[in-house]
């Protein structure tokens, strides 16, 4: 079961799993943009461009 959300960049269709949780990264299949999923208090889904730090390479 998936939900479809429009890509804010290109209007492409991004499939979101129904069990998605905040912080998950989804990619637009059309333009390749990565988005972070934000679940809103009213149960909605917002996408914001993913700002990703480098790898955790501590000991």
């Amino acid at each position: 079961m998936t939900l479809n959300v429009k890509c804010p960049e290109c209007d492409g269709e991004i499939e979101i799993p129904s069990d998605v949780i905040s912080g998950e990264i989804v990619s637009c299949p059309d333009c390749g943009m990565d988005y972070e999923v934000v679940l809103t208090e009213d149960g909605g889904i917002e996408l914001k461009p993913a700002e990703i730090e480098g790898e955790d390479w501590g000991e």
Binding site: I21, E24, I25, A50, I52, E55, D56, W57, E59
Partner: protein, 268 residues
């Protein structure tokens, strides 16, 4: 100047006379700085203290400790205390004037805390989580190291950095060694580990250029990838040569300098 990284497994089982005499001889012949690992000991002590360690996986497959506040406190205690002092005591017992430091002391290693991390979660999906207390090294204060080396001391550095808000940060010891080597203008950085060097399809790669190292990096397994990456970073910072080799042979540092075994990585 020479920078040598000693892996935690060597500290666990190889702190004996042949390595000690090798370090003493190299130290007496010129500037030497040691950086040590010890992640397994941190895990062991943390679990003894009832703090289960959580490991996370990056999208490219790198497995790392998740360093929350309690973990970074234990990490600092074990790395700067138990492990660092064990190495310093061992060196002192052999007449080597070792001085133990962490990256916090004299703000030797400054890092920027990684506030958010991209991981592969337990469902196999990419997800952003709070970054905990790991950092990306931004600066090494070479003056303190010069001061010690010029006065005949051997600095022994634990891989802990100080953050922008003066918090302790877990940094990878291979990359700490690379940054230190670059900062002090070292000719060479040596990574002593528990394998013979970089292998591909079971075959030891004796020589590699920087470009070849970059090409091979995605094919490296856990652990070796960090050493190859650290070698690349060291070379880009001006170090002439990086050597990845076994610390379980006699006179491993001398052998590395003489290119007897191991993998030698150079610019060209």
């Amino acid at each position: 100047m020479l920078v040598v990284k000693i892996g935690g497994d060597i500290i666990q089982s190889r702190m004996e006379e042949s390595l000690l005499s090798d370090i003493r001889r190299i130290h007496e012949s010129g500037g030497l700085i040691l950086v040590h690992g010890g992640g397994d000991e941190v895990t062991r002590i943390a679990e003894m203290l009832g703090k289960e360690q959580r490991f996370i996986q990056s999208p490219s497959g790198i497995r790392s400790r998740y360093t929350d506040l309690e973990t970074v406190q234990i990490y600092t205690m074990v790395m700067a205390g138990r492990v660092n002092k064990a190495v310093v005591r061992w060196l002192q017992s052999g007449g080597v004037p070792a001085v133990g430091l962490s990256g916090i002391d004299g703000a030797l290693i400054r890092a920027r805390r990684k506030k958010r991390l991209l991981i592969i979660d337990e469902r196999g999906r990419k997800r952003i989580i709070e970054g905990g207390y790991t950092g990306k090294i931004t600066e090494v204060e070479r003056g303190l190291l010069d001061l010690l080396v010029e006065n005949g001391y051997l600095p022994v550095v634990a891989p802990i950095a100080i953050g922008e808000e003066y918090e302790p940060l877990n940094v990878d010891s291979d990359r700490a060694a690379a940054h230190i080597a670059g900062a002090v203008g070292a000719d060479r950085v040596i990574f002593l580990t528990d394998v013979q060097g970089v292998t591909l399809n079971g075959k030891l790669l004796e020589r590699m250029t920087l470009k070849e190292a970059e090409e091979i990096l995605p094919r490296m397994g856990a652990g070796m990838d960090k050493k190859v990456l650290a070698s690349i970073e060291a070379l880009k910072a001006g170090v002439k040569e990086a050597v990845i080799c076994s610390g379980f042979l006699d006179e491993p540092i001398t052998r590395a300098i003489e290119h007897k075994g191991g993998t030698v990585i150079t610019l060209e």
